[in-house]
Amino acid sequence: MIHESGPHGCTVPAPAEYVLRAEGIGKSFGGVEVLSSASLWAEPGRVTTLLGRNGCGKTTLMRIAAGRLGPDWGVVKYRGRVRVAGGLAAMARDGLMFVPQGSLLCPSYRVEDHFRALRHAFPVSNCAFSAPDLDAAVERFRLGPLLEQRTWTLSGGEKMRVSVALAVARRPLVLLIDEPFVGVQPKDQEMVADALRALADEGCAVVTSGHDVRVLMEVSDAIIWCTAGTTHHLGTPADAASSDQFRREYLGAFA
């Protein structure tokens, strides 16, 4: 397998190994350039994490990669095909799942309705998960007492717990999950991290983001630093932590 050398001397997998790749992405809002040439990729069996200061464009890049937002330039490829904006539904039918910042849930639905919709959307015949997977996810994430509740009544941490449970139950090929640890209590952060790790170990390509550096560095295989409209592949979390510039400009006291 061919490997090219990354900017920090680490190895970057050859493009064939990426199941999802957003490349050379540029995006402006109202004349203000947020991204000029950013890239994001997802590799089967690995957790890739996008880090960077508030407002650097992590969410924007993830939304573009998920087909929720059109880039001004650049290209998104999923499973070897170029995808267009608005293509999340088509990619989802093809195994992708996108959990946006905040949560995935519909405010007026009950928690249980989301699981029922998931079961109907992907009949067992054409999908990796089965009904017992849904029940197991409900149990694993202690959602029993929440099932009857409307989503808008849930706390922030509960919403994220339900969102992760849905992602785990879906067993996607690629999971893009924006800020999965926000508002989640420390003990449950461990549970969410374990779930993401287990998904990756089963072969799912997981992409995350956020500022909960400790847990994100622990769960990740690769770190992408989003800064000044572009992205840098920093390599493993240990490689990232040893990058002077990254420590100085982003990690600060966490280094």
Binding site: L88, A89, A90, C106, P107, A117, A121
Partner: protein, 86 residues
């Protein structure tokens, strides 16, 4: 935006039935209250729809398909009402 659109439709309707467009556009504060309510409900529904659109897309249902299904449903229901009335 929703307010302008609703006001526009209201005034348009009044012009069609021969009323004064200015009178239709300028409402008493009390008469505006239902309009405020409609705008607030529309915004609330839109906010809910935003996250609903992402959830449904994750299930493989594009909003386009949902919009088409709703349009077909409304046309069929209207057709049925027209048939019953005739």
């Amino acid at each position: 935006m929703i307010w302008i659109v609703l006001k526009g439709f209201g005034a348009g309707g009044v012009i069609l039935v021969g009323g004064s467009p200015v009178a239709a556009f300028v409402a008493f504060p009390v008469a505006t209250l239902p309009l405020v309510f409609v705008v607030l409900v529309a915004v609330r529904i839109d906010m809910a729809r935003q996250s609903e659109a992402v959830f449904l897309a994750n299930l493989g249902w594009p909003f386009r398909r949902i919009a088409v299904s709703l349009t077909v449903l409304i046309v069929v229901l209207d057709g049925a009402v027209a048939l019953l009335a005739s």
